[in-house]
Symmetry: C2
Subunit: 104 residues, 2 copies
DNA sequence: TTGGTGTTTATCAATTATGTTAATTAACAT
DNA sequence: ATGTTAATTAACATAATTGATAAACACCAA
């Protein structure tokens, strides 16, 4: 599945933080992330490459700047997947809730 | 964030397939997965360990069998995260749809 | 006890991921 | 031209992941 690859790209603390920030603040140039816990420009660039190749972010070129944004489809894909199992976990939580209140 | 760790565990094709199967079929013993594309028992065991340590699956012991199931909280955590950005991706997809129909 | 099933742990090799420094490209300002 | 800013690619070192084989452990059955 292709979702495994999406998860793999998001399964790194730095990349996950990048994506969260892009989700919250909208599109940003690569350089806006150099304040992050001492990640060097080359390291940052490679993280963006991984995110690009996983289809999680989009790159737009403006002069010398590479401006990144999250592809809505990527988040929707994750949402669709998790929600498709919603019935399962809702039942599960119900079972859990029942178990927790069983000793009353 | 601890979601990055969840994504990391799911970011492997074999582990993702394990989780999907557990979600669809409910709890299953480790041995039920040995038919999967030639994954050896030790490899399978380590994948389960990763999933356990990431809090994605639960292990129940029954005689010699280790019976695994998905922790509903893990799926819910992912669902909550994606839904927290729902407005973003819904708007984004709307804009995309509009852009695609703009040439009419 | 002996043997078989189910699963895990140990050890080691191979691959992949990540980070670093140095060099490179591109756009711009002087 | 020269230097500066923004970002990337190249080359390399190190760490982490994955897998394979062998050994071990727990349980059951004869």
């Amino acid at each position: 599945m292709q979702l495994a690859n999406t998860f793999s790209a998001l399964g790194n603390a730095t990349r996950f933080a990048i994506v969260e920030r892009l989700l919250q603040q909208g599109e940003l140039p690569a350089g806006a992330f150099l304040d992050m816990n001492g990640v060097s420009p080359p390291a940052m660039s490679r993280h963006f490459k991984v995110l690009r190749e996983a289809g999680i972010v989009n790159q737009r070129i403006d002069k010398q700047r590479r401006i990144y944004s999250v592809r809505p489809q990527a988040v929707q894909q994750i949402s669709d997947w998790s929600i498709s199992y919603r019935k399962f976990w809702e039942n599960g939580l119900d079972r859990l809730a029942m178990a927790l209140s069983e000793d009353v």
